[in-house]
Symmetry: C4
Subunit: 276 residues, 4 copies
């Protein structure tokens, strides 16, 4: 700290901005909360803006929310890019910042405001839709801020092989089910089981146990097959979820044991000390 402050007030500011944007310290928590609130406001705006009667009345409000969000997201992005060199991993001014900008999360951040500005160059009806999708990327930004997604990521990585294995089994169950059902039901229902992709839709809604009922086997062979495939296939589809659930609980138990303290001098933390 003393060494850093000696290297000029700009470096100190940069370190503080970096810590704040990473959600560290009191300022960090305020910034994090504010960005989270803005994203949630965006989610509500996406949902309500699509309702015609509300769009006619409060369209201006939704536009204002969008503009404000885009400005804040852009400011946050460039501040983050400027301050990232405070992190030893991205220390070099150009190469470090480029590597920082190339991370998937940074690209999500970029996409959360860039499409909005593209409109001013080439306006047509299709682009208006794209503008609306900007808001969708702000929802994706939610993942950047909420610890839950990091958690999910760790859980998925910890059980990568098990998930891949069970996912393969699920895909296999899907393909076998849809192929067999296509042969069994194509004759009786040439429209609903027109081809294997149509049968795949049946297989997905059955093996996930959603069961809308828009595609249902009618022949005896089809029903017998469907019964056997459902009983086996549903188990295959439930396996990844069960494994993910186990991984999630284990991941939390693991993190709870690894609690470390924040350094009161430099504002860096070595392990998550809050929340978990």
């Amino acid at each position: 700290m003393t060494e850093e402050s000696a290297r000029g007030p700009l470096l100190l500011l940069r370190a503080r901005v970096h810590a704040a944007l990473e959600g560290k310290g009191r300022t960090g928590r305020v910034v994090e909360g504010a960005v989270l609130a803005l994203i949630l406001l965006n989610v509500v705006a996406i949902v309500l803006d699509s309702v015609d009667s509300l769009d006619r009345r409060f369209g201006g409000v939704f536009d204002a929310i969008e503009l404000a969000s885009v400005i804040v997201f852009a400011a946050e992005y460039f501040l983050r890019l400027w301050a990232c060199t405070a992190d030893p991993a991205y220390r070099r001014p150009v190469a470090g910042r480029l590597r920082f900008a190339a991370r998937p999360l940074a690209i999500v951040d970029l996409l959360s405001f860039v499409p909005y500005f593209l409109v001013f160059w080439d306006v047509d009806l299709r682009v208006f839709r794209a503008v609306r999708l900007v808001r969708f990327f702000s929802v994706a930004k939610l993942g950047r801020n909420v610890r839950a997604i990091a958690m999910l990521g760790s859980a998925v990585r910890a059980k990568r092989d098990e998930l891949l294995a069970t996912f393969t089994l699920a895909i296999l169950a899907l393909v076998i089910s849809s192929t067999l059902m296509y042969f069994a039901e194509n004759g009786a229902q040439p429209e609903k089981f027109a081809d294997v992709p149509h049968a795949l839709w049946w297989a997905i809604e059955t093996l996930t146990t959603v069961g809308y009922g828009d595609v249902v086997p009618v022949t005896t062979l089809g029903k017998v097959l469907a019964a056997i495939l459902a009983i086996c296939g549903i188990a295959m589809f439930a396996l990844p979820t069960l494994i993910l659930g186990t991984a999630f609980v284990e991941e939390y138990d693991r993190r709870r044991k690894r609690r470390h303290v924040t350094c009161p001098d430099c504002g860096k933390e070595f392990e998550e000390p809050r929340g978990t």
Copy 2:
């Protein structure tokens, strides 16, 4: 005990009433059982009273059950309020009782009989409905008495962070699914996917795997999207349930180890000795 009885028979009575209303000792178990039976009678009455043919025949019986319940619930509430000062946490006559009455469970108790008496002041058709809702609050009182709810509360608190994290993921899955499906299906089914809230209804019935079948994607893009969103989203929706189940089993194991005895003198218990 000897000290307490020396401070007057009223104090002794208050302590005994308090213990009985908290379900402690033999009298307490009888009182608890009686209140539980009355609540279950109310539940049956709510369910059967709504059937027109039964209401015409046994309407008087249902009214009598209601009146009896309201009187018992009111008596229980005021006795509880009078006796609560026996608890060291609410020792002060006025401030203690106010704090006691402000707890959520005390408010549920209050709401289980107050609306009934409001009818006598201002009668109109709408209020008749409210009178019926009285009974609904008696069902909520069930939570006050049955240990299962306390168990659920502990389990939720123990895994608060995990549940919050997975719930965030579930909400994120809901919002992303409904937004994408709105764009995919709005053109083909302008009524069923009229706006994002309409698509949210589809997303909820799909990701919970209920699948009524009243809203189903019909376009190829919609079906492909629905398949991917269903496979990922259902896992997100199952996570909170899996975590709650783990927490529930752990909570029971934990309680089983902590069994303590009831003090035979004052009737107080330091840990749950029955049932668990």
Copy 3:
């Protein structure tokens, strides 16, 4: 063994019949397998007899299977009753046999053949239906023979409190959901949500995630309520199943550790040595 054989060949025979009927020793396994095969034959007969075209053709075969089963089940019952005094728990000739006959499993055994003979006394059309139900009781006998049901019984007993607690929560979720949905949807769909019992049918098919789609909320309030109730209620309904699953796995692990040997002299076993 030597002591027992000294007390007469009848006692020895009784002990051997007892052991055989309890599925112990080589003879026991053969008897168990034969009874199981007969029950499975009955299950197939129940399922196929209901198909009119098969009943017309093979009706005689089904009747023969029924008669044979009833004779075997009756013989097994009376042999079991005669031999039960070989078990120290039912040693006394009259009182022991009465206690043996009063156990739930013995009553199931009795019901698996008695209704058939009742037909000869008072024949009318309604009784013919009852005759068919005889076969249903033979299915229930399956539980007597297959270890899985004993396993399930142990698992349920081990987690009795947890299951009771979560079941209470599930019932509470059912009642609250159906009451609220009745108030929300009764106006818009007076037939489908005619009263709370009708709404209960909706609640059951939703909270179990079956979702036939015959009763679906149509109002905005109903859909919002249904969404919230579904998300919370489905978790409540999944809890008992998760707890039962945990108990089942634990029960098996516990039994696997407790393996004991069969006494080669008297044919008695102190713990399950096979299968598990």
Copy 4:
């Protein structure tokens, strides 16, 4: 290795081919990847070939993929058969190879190309369908190569008794549910609940919670029964899945501990060193 190479270059080649086909060493991984890619291409071809519009346009491409696959699968099969004697378990030239060819996986391999060549002998319309099914067997070949299936097999074997027990319970729940519902609903819906097999279809779609809604109870008795059977039966159906999930996680944990190294000389591995 030195000993083996002394016994002639053919033996060395055979050992290398054997190792490569078993997926060992660098060559093995390349071969495994290539076969896997070809199978996945087949899966895509099966799914897309059934779509009429695509078949008309790209029918030639699909035929080419089919021919190429059949040739590769045949070559792989005969190479495997020739090289299998490198495995000490199948050392004897004739008896060893016959035992090798009699394994279920070898039969799947054989079925993945033989039906294609049968067409040249006796061509008729029905056989064209069989030709298409060739591709289905290539999907089954997937199981030969992907480790996930071996994993599933181990998990099933480890919990064989538990799975058998819970499966018995599920079958029992199915039979009891369908028999009772047949008696309850046959009068009101003589077509949908025509016999017990028809009721079985209802029971399967209900107890798996798929719930298409094509067969739904309409009588009060039927609905009450359906509610009780659903609540109990769904738990019975979920048990095997929960147990399989537990077994899968345990199996992976067990394998992770048993990691062994590949011998750099002979290319043999004693335990799985990759992936898991």
